[in-house]
């Protein structure tokens, strides 16, 4: 049976966006969601949570998205977990840069909460297939 996207770890320093994202992912998408306010928090909780997908905001104080990604990759349980970046600065050439860092894709902010779960499912399934 094909694996299904269920558990999502979302990391963002913006509390309001965290709230909107949480509502979108839980109530629209029906996912089990762990929300973290920083990369450090994500590192502490990620292994126990064992997400199917990790969403990282790019611009965060102290440890930004790419740094968080690099650190997460050091955790054996998360070495291959698909990672998506969320960014408000998306430009086509930057998408390639983020992919080089090991992300499966980039989602632009502002995102549409009603469509976000479906978008994530599609991206995730493509990544798993690949």
């Amino acid at each position: 049976m094909a694996k299904e996207l269920k558990r999502i770890l979302y990391v963002d320093d913006e509390p309001d966006i965290r709230s909107v994202a949480k509502m979108s992912l839980e109530m629209v998408g029906g996912f089990t969601v762990l929300i973290c306010a920083s990369g450090a928090e994500a590192l502490q909780k990620a292994t126990d949570f064992a997400p199917d997908l990790i969403l990282l905001d790019v611009m965060m104080p102290q440890m930004d998205g790419p740094a968080t990604l690099a650190a997460l990759r050091q955790l054996p349980a998360l070495a291959t977990t698909p990672v998506l970046f969320f960014t408000a600065k998306v430009q086509s050439d930057e998408v390639e840069e983020f992919k080089k860092l090991g992300a499966i894709d980039v989602v632009a902010k502002p995102f549409k909460p009603m469509q976000l779960p479906q978008t994530l499912r599609e991206i995730w399934e493509n990544a798993i297939k690949a």
Binding site: A88, Q91, M114
Partner: protein
Amino acid sequence: MTPTPIPPDDHERVAALRRLRILDTPPEPAFDRITRAVAHMLDVPTALVTLVDADRQWFKSSIGFAARETPRELSFCAHVVARREPMFIPDTHNDPLFADHPAVIADPKVRFYAGAPLITSDGYALGTLCAVDYAPRPQFSDDDRQRLIDLAGAVVDAIEARRVSNFLRSQTELLQTTVDAIGDGISVFDANHKLVAWNWRFLTLLDVPERFARRGTDFAELIRYMAERGEYGPGDAEAQIAERVAAAQRWERRRIERRRLDGRIIQIQSVPLPGGGMVNTYTDVTEARQRTEALEQQARLFHLLEQVAAIANQAPDLDTALKRVLDEVCAYAGWPVGNALLRAEGSTELVATDHWYLADARYASFPERSKPFRFGMGDGTPGRVMATRRLEWIADMRDYTPVRRGKIAQELALLACFAFPVFARGEVRAVLQFYNDKVTPVDPAMFPVLEFATAQLSRVAEREEMARLKNEFVSTVSHELRTPLTSIAGSLELIDAGITGALPEKAHEMVRIAYQNSQRLIRLINDILDIEKIESGCMTLDIKRERLRPLIERAISETASFAAGFGVSLNLLAGEDVVAWVDPDRFLQVVTNLLSNAAKFSPAGGMVDVVLGHRGDRVRVSVIDRGPGIPEAFRDRLFEKFSQADSSDRRAKGGTGLGLAIVKGIVEHLGGSIAVDTAIGVGTTFHIDLPEGAKTLPKEQAAERSRVLVLEDDIASSALLEAICRDLGCDCDVAHSTVGARRLIAEHPYALLITDVRLPGQTGIEFLAELRATIQTRNLPVIVVSAEMANSAYSEQAARLGIVEWVQKPLDAKRLIGLVESIVGPQAAAAR
């Protein structure tokens, strides 16, 4: 006494006599021998060679007669001259003409006279050869007469010989005088390499000592003297002599230049003489050469300034500008090593970049060995430039204790250096440092050049800094705006969708308004960023050959729900599929934009059609609506920012007023064009024409990939040309200026050059002329892609320069592909 007869031509005769320049000259053996023979053979006491002048007779030779001359009226010989025949008077006392002659009745009491005329080859009787006795000679025989006549002939011969020799001497003198008067030095060596002629200038130009100024001086002897004096520079004198003697023995026409010890430049031209020998001319070309050099210097200077300005105008970034200026300055100054050092943003130290100019392999280790050095304020020459903020020049680095790079430079035998700053926002941003392999005194002529380079490069640095700040600002603003908008729009969307529970109808309506406007604000921010990118030339395009039908289908599906909101349906009409050169994401953006525009302005229940086709050699995408049409007054401003036919539309239709400006910007960046057909009350059609791509997939790559150089200053055009070349399986380099192109050509062999003819700094035509004059690019195929008409003045020059083809802008991609394939494609490769 009978008067002395005067011949009718006496005036000419006397003139002829005087021309001989024989009168009043010393005795000469040739004549004296004859008079002696006359006296002896005819047994007379007196024998004379007389020359009859206007009023005297003068004796060139005389035996037995003391006077040097006597008056003409007393002259017997004047009679002979007048008669032009011999005259014999055996006894003057019996001769009716001379019996009472003063020389007969008084001293010397002449009794016998025999005279034969001296008639020259030009027919003048100049005088006589005569025999005189003071006793009568009745027995003077016919034989004696004949002897006198014969000897008179010998006198004439002697006179003629004398005339020839005089002529030769005067000619020689004339020649020498002429030769001496010539400003050039002249020397003539005979077949045995002996000096036979020379002039004064030869001696002075080469400082040849007196002792060599003689006939017979040996060429090798002279050369030896010169070599030993050091005229031929350092080296083995014997070898120098041998080389020059061997060259002389080849008897070849040649022209050489020699810099003398005093710095003067002598041009020596040798021309072989028929039958051996050589004429050499020596010309002092110092002034001429100085003038030429000054002019060349000036031309090179102007070229440099022009290039530096062009680089500053076109360079996409400071890095590129530094590298190019580095090359130009080294080429101009002839210094073998140059390096650009850069101070990173936020750093206080200059660090060597990878941009080096290295004239030869001797310096190859310099870049690697420079890597560890960082130059803070005052450290080394770069640090000093940072401190003084001006050009630093060290004529001889050995005057300083070598530290840092100076040490390495000295190990590499580099002795002099200079460095100048590049400023950005008032601070030293970069330093260009150059090294020379000889001691080089400060050259004030270089200062204005380097100051110009500082100013121009600073302009680039400043521009880059401003662009960076602007990008940073735009990026920050967009982030800062989008972050709160994410929360606002996201919350509103969730509320509107009822995720947070049902809302009262009025509240729901208000939420919907807020939500729609938050979406509009997001679109506006995105559009502003797009416009900014288009206008600043920062839009990055990933141009590929794409089938357009699937892209348009996607655009329709993405816009369908938006259009449905206006009650409008979108259709892609049946027809051929076409392939074009586009960036798929940007093309999608263009079509989506046109579709939503068309939907907004269509009547409810209307239809928007998309048609794919061709127009000429280009692919055409047409978006057709049946809306109200565009008012005449507005058509000109259609593609301007924030321009809508009715400004109230903006709010009513939810547009940003930027859509068409963005569409036009993107289409043009793709190398295409946009046009509009509109009729009030009928509808509007937007046509997008794009470069067509071949339908077939790229051919199997040839084993050996061809390398193509694209020279085009317009970034968008060059991106398209590059994409086409790469798609055809070629390696492709892009240069935005002739400076860059020149460097790339020096580094790689190219199979083809695709160039514009209108380029900054130097025209493409000038550049092609330059290429054609260079051996390795003489036959390089060239395709010109230009907005210039193919029949303009350019194309005539182009034909002369062997341009393969002329492709008009806007680009006909299909034709260009055909041309490129014919030159570098597999068939062409096989033909090669």
